[in-house]
């Protein structure tokens, strides 16, 4: 995808795209944090739940209680503003990355692709010289102004966006999406309240149009954004596509705005210079036309090469697992699979003592929030995590060596609900693994 040619990589280009990106990203993150706070989600997601689905290997990541969580969100909001303003930029970027990623690691329930994207971009931003113009930093230290940066600093952000789109497009190349127009066929009729187009949403061909347009858009938009002649039109498509997504699927949250803002990075340095010249900040931009040079290049290039390599292969890890990806969701996360399937489940657990004579049905609502229960019911690794938690909890309640059994039913893309996992398997005895979980029933088996 990228030509690794050191000279092209280091060619000085205008710093302007990085500057716009920094300001827009910082502001968007600031408002996104306020929105999260405003809606009471800090409490409902990170304070009130008594149990969290931590990521495997990250069990040590625990929430900090009410004051602690609000402090963390304050730091996120503040560091986002500092990024936008370019005040103590590197420190702000590090703080933002650490705090944001920490919050995301607390609970798998709230995993969203664009939160992952934000973590990744925040990581990249740490290394990029994005505050060397139009920033408070350069007011404090005018000598640090730079007009040019090595091309790869802009390139790596473009690469990241390309990865999001391209893999999102690849993920749509499946039978359900293209041939059955699922889940669009399910989701669109639920949107019939939308003015003007509402009545059309019951029509099958509209679902096909949405599906195919979405797939083609995701697969190819980056190429048209990269090409100078098509760029402006491609960006119009970016606007249309994401605004439409925001209207049709408001539940998706900030994703459309993140992509609209991020895709600006594809515009030329001249474009961004003109854009930035609209800012009343002459003092922050005037100066020598110096180029930013990295110290410890080898080290940094190493990091970037590994990063790019991982980004290219992680989304493919699902190939290592058998059966239908949408069903077993092994290798599903961190792979830019957005709005791809309609899945719902109902999970009933029974705890038995080691002899199997005593049995206790579990009331999920006692331990999980509705959102946690919904997410757990369709995702095997979360089911396993919960089963282990249940074993612990019931052991504390006096049941010796508890066994945990799950009767879980799942419907995928409108196909009738059926048993999801083997209900005769003691989940408490199953361990976490990168390998395929054999206790997931194959998708084909009709109940």
């Amino acid at each position: 995808m990228m030509v690794i040619n050191r000279q092209a990589w280091e060619k000085p280009v205008s710093i302007a795209p990085l500057i716009t990106f920094r300001i827009a990203f910082g502001l968007l993150m600031f408002f996104s944090t306020l929105r999260f706070w405003w809606r009471g989600w800090v409490d409902t997601v990170y304070v009130s739940p008594s149990f969290h689905f931590t990521y495997w290997g990250f069990d040590w990541v625990q929430p900090l209680g009410k004051p602690g969580m609000y402090l963390i969100f304050s730091i996120i909001a503040l560091s986002a503003l500092m990024i936008a303003a370019g005040l103590f930029y590197r420190l702000a970027a590090v703080l933002f990355f650490i705090c944001f990623t920490y919050v995301e690691l607390i609970d798998v329930t709230t995993y969203l692709n664009h939160y992952y994207f934000i973590s990744l971009v925040a990581f990249l931003m740490i290394w990029l010289p994005a505050s060397r113009l139009y920033s408070i930093d350069v007011l404090l230290k005018p000598g640090s102004k730079r007009q040019y940066v090595p091309a790869w600093t802009v390139g790596v952000l473009r690469f990241q966006i390309a990865v999001v789109y391209f893999f999102a497009g690849l993920a749509k190349l499946n039978t359900d999406w293209l041939i059955n127009a699922q889940p669009m066929k399910t989701w669109l009729p639920a949107k019939s309240h939308i003015p003007f187009v509402g009545e059309w949403l019951y029509k099958e061909w509209v679902a096909y149009l949405f599906s195919w347009f979405g797939a083609v858009y995701d697969l190819f938009i980056v190429f048209f954004l990269l090409n100078k002649r098509t760029r402006i039109w491609a960006y119009c498509f970016v606007l249309i596509f994401h605004i439409a997504t925001a209207i049709f699927f408001p539940g998706i949250g900030l994703f459309p705005y993140v992509m609209i803002v991020s895709s600006l990075i594809f515009f030329s340095g001249t474009f961004h210079e003109r854009l930035l010249s609209l800012l009343p900040a002459k003092k922050m931009s005037d100066g020598l036309s110096a180029t930013y040079t990295f110290t410890r290049k080898k080290w940094l290039y190493g990091i970037m090469i590994v990063y790019v390599f991982l980004q290219c292969i992680i989304p493919f890890r699902f190939l290592l697992y058998p059966d239908l990806l949408f069903w077993n969701e092994e290798g599903y996360r961190f792979s830019w699979r957005v709005m791809l399937m309609e899945k719902a489940g109902a999970a009933y657990f029974t705890v038995k003592d080691k002899t199997g004579k005593q049995y206790y049905e579990v009331n999920n609502a006692e331990f999980l929030t509705p959102l946690q229960e919904k997410m757990m019911s369709t995702q095997p690794d979360m089911i396993l995590k919960y089963a282990h938690f249940l074993a612990n909890t019931y052991e504390k309640r006096g049941i010796a060596q508890p066994q945990v059994f799950g009767e879980v039913y799942v419907t995928l893309n409108g196909a009738g609900s059926r048993l999801f996992i083997d209900s005769s398997v003691n989940l408490a005895a199953q361990s976490f693994s990168w390998k395929h979980y054999n206790w997931i029933l194959p998708y084909k088996t009709k109940k």
Binding site: H114, E204, I252, M341
Partner: protein, 374 residues
């Protein structure tokens, strides 16, 4: 090359659209032509929900009149007449409890009138009131002190009023004799809990007049939307049926240890009848009472006729199995456990269908949180 690619894409898109256009045309337009959700919601409001609330109000009024008669002249004849009226009232409540949104949610009708202990509460907590328990301790202390506030939003307040308290005060063991002690306070408390019930029901009734407009015009399916509310409350009511109403007193959470006194309306002794009425009214909601403007018909318009039929049949299966569970449920739990078990299994199957297939097909969401596809 790029141009030919664009051209190619456009051709593919046009062909796809064209194929499916003509296909849906051939199928006979009706299938594809959409569904009038506003008409569906209007039907729910005017034919099902509002009449049910009006009837509830009437039954509260006649219950209050008979309660006053009983409190004036406390004898078994008046008590029996009151019990009959109470059963009618509670059965009518079972017909509205699934509308636990809008005005009813704002008034917290469900917790003040018929508290089930909360689904998120551990039923087996030792020494605590859970499920449909009757809190005689708090009620008696309220009566003797004469100092209580029924508007408090706490568990002890929920347990001290509503149907559980009515059960205890009017129909509990030695209910009539207990009025001889501290009569003034006891009569006052009895009147207060009836008045409280009436105030809540009146409020929900009058609030629905204004809410009706919002209800029928909001055809979204997100959280808090009427369609979302109806489906989510179907699932919630089934959860209550599976848990506090049947399963938990039956010992499902407690290694088979039965809690006979924690059944709904323990002293009136019509728990099974209430469960049956509850599931019948849920079926009525699901099918729109056979009006052709129900959730079933919406599913049919989405080409989910099989699902609509499957779920309707499962409702019938649950109704049949529950009808085989005789009252008083408190005795049946231990006398005929097999019958309760059968009903329980069918309830779980129905709950599964509603939570998975029906929720999926109607695009209903359960939380406000951002979501990028399940």
């Amino acid at each position: 090359m790029k141009r030919s690619f664009v051209l190619g894409t456009l051709i593919v898109l046009a062909l796809t659209a064209g194929t499916y256009c003509s296909k849906s045309g051939n199928d006979g337009g009706d299938k594809d032509s959409g569904y009038d959700k506003e008409a569906m919601l209007t039907n729910y409001a005017d034919q099902i929900i509002l009449p049910a609330y009006t009837s509830l109000q009437e039954k509260v009024n006649s219950f209050q009149a008979l309660a006053n008669t009983f409190l004036d002249t406390r004898n078994t004849t008046n008590q029996q007449a009151l019990l009959d009226a109470y059963k009618q009232l509670h059965l009518q409540y079972a017909r509205v409890e699934a509308y636990n949104f809008g005005p009813a949610a704002a008034a917290a009708l469900d917790v003040y009138v018929n508290f089930n202990g909360g689904l998120d509460y551990n039923f087996n907590t030792n020494g605590e009131l859970t499920g449909f328990s009757i809190d005689s301790t708090t009620i008696e202390s309220n009566i003797s002190s004469g100092n209580y506030n029924l508007s408090l939003y706490v568990r002890s307040s929920f347990y001290a009023q509503g149907f559980a308290a009515i059960n205890y005060i009017f129909f509990g063991t030695n209910a009539i004799a207990k009025f001889d002690n501290n009569t003034t306070n006891r009569v006052k408390y009895a009147k207060d809990i009836v008045t409280r019930l009436k105030t809540l029901v009146d409020k929900v009734n009058s609030d629905w007049t204004a809410y009706r407009t919002d209800f029928i015009s909001n055809t979204k399916t997100n959280v808090g939307s009427p369609i979302g509310n109806m489906i989510n409350n179907l699932a919630y009511s089934l959860d209550v049926l599976k848990g506090p109403r049947i399963g938990w007193p039956f010992g499902k959470q407690s290694n088979g240890i039965v809690f006979p006194t924690k059944v709904e309306a323990y002293f009136a002794g019509n728990s099974s009848a209430l469960a049956q009425e509850s599931i019948r009214s849920l079926k009525k909601i699901f099918t729109g009472n056979g009006s052709g403007k129900g959730i079933t018909d919406y599913l049919k318009s989405l080409k989910k006729e099989d699902l609509a039929n499957q779920v309707t049949a499962q409702f019938d299966a649950v109704i049949t199995k529950l009808e085989a569970v005789p009252d008083p449920l408190s005795a049946t739990l231990t006398a005929q456990p097999a019958k309760v078990e059968e009903a329980y299994k069918e309830i779980q199957k129905l709950l599964t269908l509603i939570k998975t297939d029906v929720a999926s097909a109607t695009g209903v969401q359960i939380t406000f949180m951002d979501n990028d596809g399940d």
